[in-house]
Symmetry: C2
Subunit: 495 residues, 2 copies
Amino acid sequence: MSKSGDDRRLSKKAYEARLPDVRAALVRMQVELKSSKFPVILVIGGVEASGKGEVINILNGWLDPRGFETFAFHEPTDEERERPAMWRYWRTLPPDGRMAIYAGGWHADALHEDPRSARELGQFDAMLRRFAWFEGQLAAGGALIIKVWLNLSKSAQRGRLRELESDTRTAWRVTPDDWKSQRDYDRLARLSERMRSATHQPGAPWYVVDSEDPRSRNLAVADILLSRFRIHMRARSRLASARRRRGRGIVPLRPAGLRRLLSLPLDNKLSQASYEKKRDKWLGRLNRVVRAASQERRSVVWVFEGWDASGKGGAIRRLTDAIDARDFRVIPVSKPTDEEKAHHYLWRFWRHVPRAGMVTIYDRSWYGRVLVERLEGFATEAEWRRAYRELNEFERELVEHGVIVLKFWLHIGKDEQLRRFRDREATSYKRHKIDAEDWRNRRKWQSYEIAVGDMLSLTSSRHAPWHLVAANNKRHARLEIIKSSCRQIEAALGV
Amino acid sequence: MSKSGDDRRLSKKAYEARLPDVRAALVRMQVELKSSKFPVILVIGGVEASGKGEVINILNGWLDPRGFETFAFHEPTDEERERPAMWRYWRTLPPDGRMAIYAGGWHADALHEDPRSARELGQFDAMLRRFAWFEGQLAAGGALIIKVWLNLSKSAQRGRLRELESDTRTAWRVTPDDWKSQRDYDRLARLSERMRSATHQPGAPWYVVDSEDPRSRNLAVADILLSRFRIHMRARSRLASARRRRGRGIVPLRPAGLRRLLSLPLDNKLSQASYEKKRDKWLGRLNRVVRAASQERRSVVWVFEGWDASGKGGAIRRLTDAIDARDFRVIPVSKPTDEEKAHHYLWRFWRHVPRAGMVTIYDRSWYGRVLVERLEGFATEAEWRRAYRELNEFERELVEHGVIVLKFWLHIGKDEQLRRFRDREATSYKRHKIDAEDWRNRRKWQSYEIAVGDMLSLTSSRHAPWHLVAANNKRHARLEIIKSSCRQIEAALGV
């Protein structure tokens, strides 16, 4: 962690002499940012009475307020409490070309817990690991993340509190909690040091700024912001020129998944009569377990991936037959909207994460990142390679919050697909389901097989395993999905 | 209100014979809807035990679940309670090409209040007027709204409740409340009749469906949906062919506003020294009143409109200097995003309505509807003419919830604008602020004057008056805005 700030106090005159340049540079920065393809995330944390609010208000005065927003996290709302912990931070993230300033950041949520016992400290550390992952992921996605910690020595803090108390206009700002944090100074300092070191990383470093002299402090924060912005812009332009669309990644990373895919027997027999009997039995069971999950305020997320025409839609309809319409949403995933494109690629999935006890069914999903985006070059090699871990971690967030995650890959043979395409073209009310893109994807069948294989082996975690479903026979596939879903939900509920 | 349904029971055989056609028609409807530029809103209300949930689940089975969502409104969340009553309905509205099914609709929220005294009935009626306005507005915006009321006679309801109770699989569904509603049948029937007649209108009619025979009921609902959809599609295509870009509305509707605009003295003197002294005094006062509003959980919404280069940005910066950065958001309004374009034009403003005690500053606003959209033909004449009342009602929603709405038109002379455009072009860090569109708008100055005049006279309500600010002198304008804001907030708080 770098140390900034100067022990000598800055005179008012010297300060005001520097202001016009700083302010002009900040406005130029905002203009440049507006047409850039990345967001800026500025966290202002610090000890009590170090002037976090002051710094933020001063930055607000220096910047054009139309280009950014300021957030402070208070008690979570009930809509936030019912979702994984990181959801409330995700929803505030600025789109490309804009900036958000976070008073205290998410870090304040961890520090407010004020952990004391070893168990609480363990939870604290786990929360910090989440934050580090969150920030690392955003940085990898191109965000400029700047975290500033406003520091004040113990005696300087005491002096500041006394100063505030002695002025009638500011005395109301000093609360008993402030004095408590003065008495607890050493312990809190160790805690925030622990927080900073756990969340310090190249893409999201902490800058400690001494805040004894407010004028030096203000300029130091502006300087950090400006210089990190310049460096970021330079790095991005170098990156852009170095970035060539290289090999489309048709070499498998982990052949085990591909082998598993290719060795799946596809043709299963199941008579209509036998199917209907079993289906109705299992749908009844599914209805019961989904209601049981809902009663325990557990959410369920279904993920459907599979070849074009592999029967995802039909399988989803069977499932939804067994669930109360007021409790589920089906999210068809295709091209992102422009608001979605302006965010980290996971943002558009986070926004649909269900509330407690509700169900979201994703018809195609975040796995597009390692399938179509990998093969079509929409993601760079570095991006899709990194994605395997990002997707695992995303699902871990869900599962740790209590969400039950069910993932299905619907597998059909290439011949079977051809048969279905031709059938769709021949049937008037199915014709809308097939277009040129489907035929294009079909020509890349072998590349897709490799990408699917890698996906299966690299993202089948214990908390969210892939179910590979033989789907040449639709009846068999639908029944399989219902059965696996029941079993996994029952296991998760411990029934 | 039309009556559907048939007294004779439909046999299972006759029912099943009709199903394939109905289901195929529903799927075709969904395919057509997908590429249409309007949303479908289907409300299923009805008496207890009439089978609302059943009908919705059946529709869910017949329709492709990827094309719509189902909503039921429970207790408002805290994020909803802190905003005007209609916010929670607006946020669920489907975009163009999609459908939403509402179990009970917003109407259930009114009926749950169960008004008894004359005062409660008055509130009930006021809520219904809001709903009627809400639906009328959406219908005028192109939405297809279908509201179905599932009816059951008193004796049929009793029979149904007994039937449910006698079966061990369904007995749990009958609650003491259900029997209470049976005893209260006549009063509740009068209440829901009153609700239906208050919210029945051409663009959003109620259909009463007799529900004694579930099979007839299901088909009746599907038939209403299908036939309304067909009629709506036909009407829209006729409308589209009849729709010609006619006169751009350069004749004033209400010359009073234009006269007021043209007679505003623009050149006010105010020395820098005198300005700074007054400004600091008034900013202090503004800071206090905004904090007082926040403490009373009152939100503030500022609306800034004005000529290009009239100084909206600068005025906003002065205001935000006096407000804690964590309490406000500035929303720059320009072209809508594609998600916004797929909704009613007010949806994108509703989404930023502040929580209790917070501030939103709109830099340009919903008034674009009667300014740029009127003049550029983005809205048809019928649309922008209707908008005056829609905008007034929108603001009334805010004000009735306790939001303080402050509206400013910043007025400069045409010569002054030219001077500022030239100045911007000559200054490197201001050049980004001016483009070809600004010059184009300038050429339409006189048309804009007329549109602004109409806006001022048609949307200056007592609850949200326009403040017309002479802005040739920036200092004068900024001070005026701060002063008027203080006074209006103080008046609203009664201090």
